[in-house]
Symmetry: C2
Subunit: 193 residues, 2 copies
Amino acid sequence: MLDNLNNYDIVLASKSPRRQELLKGIGVDFTILTKDVDESYPERLPLIDVAPFLSLKKAKAFEEAELPENYMVITADTVVIVDNEILGKPADREDAVRMLNMLSGKVHKVITGVTVHTKEKTKTFSVTSKVEFDQLDMEEIDHYVDGFRPYDKAGAYGVQEWIGYIGVCNVEGSYYNVMGLPTQKLYKVLKSF
Amino acid sequence: MLDNLNNYDIVLASKSPRRQELLKGIGVDFTILTKDVDESYPERLPLIDVAPFLSLKKAKAFEEAELPENYMVITADTVVIVDNEILGKPADREDAVRMLNMLSGKVHKVITGVTVHTKEKTKTFSVTSKVEFDQLDMEEIDHYVDGFRPYDKAGAYGVQEWIGYIGVCNVEGSYYNVMGLPTQKLYKVLKSF
């Protein structure tokens, strides 16, 4: 499947083990190459445009010389939006607890932006999922933060971890998008690239 | 967490590696003990009652003497319902292909029934999720059936496998329920057992 990609050397520009696993899961062979990118964005950018904007910024950060000759670079960025605020990665323990308290008992949005970038063309898209957490008590939040240390995760949680198992009462949309990569949409984009 | 269960010897009566992983994931210690149970059900039973009926049947199949003294038995059964038909495990390759063709481009229901059974009480509940497959083509169905051999799976697919990554465009409800165990609801039931 995806035989149309055979001529490309595919590069995933992400340190996230979840993204690596999901891209492998749709049957793509790739190497990993990452670059530190300043993740700031224009203040006036609508919140729903932040994740695709950052995925494009990550893709454009590479110089051609750094990439294989027939490159296809895939980048992604995931944000959590609740109460009109973007939750990024928590700064410390206190911040992680604050974020989980904000998410408790509410529906929030998870948006992943993805960019597929080659010499010839660049395509950016995003997928939104809605996630509902049941009420979490302080004992559960402490247990999760201390046991799982979710400091590398937007919104301070991984849906594929204990807190996702016991706390998420409803998902609407793509579950893999919540994990960090909208596999179904990406597969469709790659199939017709 | 779930310290209220400390006095029980918990038995999971399921051969499914997904269920074993999910029950472990919510923090329950258990042993596995399975029994072959005739999975027939009364013809007139409404389709939505089949999964909880079968989970209860699986729990009641044990005799007390076979179980640890302070037993808590957890059983589950998952069915896929599409076009008013229950899809069980496919009989053979042809049947798996038939099922995936039925699911292609449509929304179906996945119902998991769960029973928690102790000397003192027995609680049965079920959770329903809706899953939508995008249109699957024959090449994709053949690739999946031959590569993944989904003969042990209701509806001939595992949402956590390639076909779930590339084919499922929408989930509504609990994703883990689709995998075979409604972790969030089970956690709530166990917490207040």
